[in-house]
């Protein structure tokens, strides 16, 4: 065993000095390789982190939301519907929610205004997300002006700013009291934006949704799982677009790497001949090339992954932000919660390291099985 380890160590030692001999060539290869891994991993990390973000976000969301539809569009829902839904067996609680979008002409951005009963926002005051605070340069103690549906202006004082586990929700959020909300949007007290329903047993959710649809045919029921599925589809689709754009780059790299790895230069062939002549076995040479391929591809993979990690989680996906996140004036300057899907890293490994290493070995094996007497000539 010791002999085996020493043999590998010695061959690895020679491999490393071999790599250093062709410094420029290998550095160019590692750079391109790293860049490709970086691009692919960035997209994969970002898409999976966003999906994770969405699931954090929806973890606390109600299992079902009931909205009123008129001509296919959402309308305020009568609060009276609550009693009829509460009467359905299996419903544990129901809450009327008030929320809406408010366009702020000063900065040209949309805020999400939301009434949070449980957060105790007194009339005349608001709590704002860090995005709102950033664009309006407003901190606690200052006031923000809002225009009501009748054209009047009301001033609301910022009590505090906040951020939450996920920057996606909190950035453009303005928490407001029910009174102020109704004043701004003119929503009557008999109406709410939608109804949030919680059930005792999540397995019964589809049945309860069907019952709601039966007794209130002018409503639609949105289940939490459906929202998650939609998010998934959107992020996968956007990730897919980016991957399609990158496909050309990946293809070019494959051709480049294949050419580099599978073709042996005259010099390399000569060296293999020398090594065989002085007593290296074919397997030793394959071992050497295996190490060479592994060192190049593994270090590129690791560097690419680290760069992608920094790019996605520290610089907020600076390079491809507009494609994957969507477009908005009030961009949440949020840091995504670091999350890495092990399966994706594994698939990157199998798509990059394995084929490259194999591509390095095959031509060497072909060169190494010939008689070494060529070096005698």
């Amino acid at each position: 065993m010791r002999k085996w380890i020493e043999r590998h160590r010695n061959i690895l030692d020679f491999t490393l000095s071999s790599l250093l001999r062709r410094k420029r060539k290998n550095a160019a290869l590692v750079s391109v390789y790293t860049l490709i891994v970086f691009l692919l991993a960035s997209v994969l990390f970002f898409a999976s982190a966003l999906r994770e973000e969405a699931s954090i976000l929806l973890k606390e969301a109600p299992e079902m939301i009931v909205q009123k539809l008129v001509a296919g569009r959402q309308e305020p829902i009568p609060v009276a519907y609550m009693e009829r839904i509460r009467a359905i067996r299996g419903v544990s609680s129901i809450k009327a929610r008030l929320w809406g979008y408010y366009y702020d002409p000063v900065v040209g951005a949309n805020y999400t205004l939301m009434v949070a009963d449980d957060l105790d926002v007194a009339p005349g005051s608001i709590s704002v997300g860090e995005g709102v605070s950033r664009v309006r340069l407003a901190s606690p103690g200052e006031t923000l002006e809002f225009r009501t549906y009748q054209g009047a202006t009301i001033e609301l004082e910022i009590k505090k700013t906040f951020s939450s586990e996920s920057g996606l929700v909190s950035s453009d959020l303005v928490l407001i009291s029910e009174d102020d909300f109704r004043k701004i949007f003119g929503t009557s007290e008999q109406y709410a934006t939608d109804l949030a329903v919680r059930v005792r047993n999540p397995k019964e959710l589809p049945t309860i949704a069907l019952k709601v649809a039966e007794i209130l045919p002018d409503t639609r029921q949105i289940l939490r799982e459906e929202i998650l599925r939609t998010y998934d589809a959107i992020f996968n689709w956007r990730g897919g677009i980016l991957l399609a754009i990158l496909f050309g780059a990946v293809l070019a790299f494959i051709i480049f790497a294949w050419d580099k790895a599978s073709g042996l230069s005259v010099e390399e062939k000569r060296e293999i001949g020398i090594l065989k002549a002085i007593g290296w076995e074919t397997s030793d040479i394959i071992r050497m090339k295996f190490w060479e391929g592994l060192v190049v591809s593994l270090s590129s993979l690791l560097m690419g992954l680290v760069l992608a990690y920094v790019h996605v989680f520290f610089t907020s996906f600076m390079l491809f932000e507009p494609v994957l996140k969507g477009w908005a004036v009030l961009y949440p300057a949020f840091k995504i919660t670091p999350f890495i899907d092990g399966a994706q890293v594994a698939s990157l490994f199998f798509l990059t390291v394995v084929p490259y290493t194999v591509a390095t070995i095959i031509p060497c094996w072909r060169a190494a099985i010939v008689d070494p007497d060529s070096v005698m000539r």
Binding site: E6, A277, G279, E281
Partner: protein
């Protein structure tokens, strides 16, 4: 020690460019002696050395090494014999560029599974012995012809082989360096090594170190003895 029985080597067999380099040679090489294969270029000397050194297999015939038939051995065993029994000094030196002289010399020992430090120690000792210790850490491509050849000698001796095979060892050396090389060979012979050389340089085959000259022409032996 080494015996060739009716050895024939054909290149590109069955093709229009078929070429017979060795025509049924039988030869016996004694242990501990210096034997020179003498002949013009293209006479088949190098092919003969390759066959004896287990670098190629004869098309027909048999080669015996220490009374063991080696022609039919699988590649792995041939490599092992090559590594442990033979040390090669090539005409073109065949050093690997970009790594140091010492690393070049250590290469044959890498697959043995010996500790790196002990290989290095042995290598440095041999560098001292052949007066090239100051060049141990020079890159192979920076060495002069004489230095490069000493490094190939050190490399050939790395695994302490019993047979040294040298193909046209003085081809790239001036007279002074050639004579120095023959001195080294003398020492090696005194150490009990079997020397087998191919050369058409009078400095080699007329040297007092050489015990036997075998004339080779057109792939055949013309006569034996000195």
């Amino acid at each position: 020690m080494i015996e060739l029985r009716d050895v024939r080597k054909v290149f590109n067999s069955g093709k229009p460019n078929e070429f017979t380099a060795v025509h049924g040679i039988s030869l016996s090489i004694e242990a501990g002696k210096a034997t020179v294969l003498k002949g013009p270029s293209g006479s088949g000397k190098t092919t003969l050395l390759s066959l004896i050194g287990c670098m190629a297999r004869p098309t027909t015939g048999r080669i015996m090494l220490f009374d063991r038939e080696i022609t039919s051995l699988p590649e792995r065993f041939l490599t092992e014999i090559r590594r442990n029994t033979f040390g090669f000094i090539f005409q073109q030196f065949n050093l690997i560029k970009g790594i140091t002289a010492l690393e070049n010399a250590m290469l044959p020992a890498y697959p043995l599974g010996e500790r790196f430090s002990s290989i290095k120690k042995r290598g440095l000792h041999l560098f001292e012995l052949f007066n090239i210790a100051p060049k141990a850490y020079s890159k192979a491509e920076w060495l002069s012809g004489g230095e490069a050849q000493r490094v190939t000698i050190v490399r050939a001796l790395m695994n302490n082989p019993s047979v040294i095979i040298a193909d046209e060892p003085t081809a790239h050396l001036d007279t002074k360096l050639s004579l120095e090389f023959m001195d080294i060979l003398k020492k090696l012979k005194e150490d009990g090594k079997t020397l087998l050389l191919a050369s058409h340089d009078p400095l080699v085959y007329e040297s007092s170190v050489v015990d036997r000259v075998v004339k080779v022409r057109d792939g055949r032996i013309e006569g034996a003895g000195k």
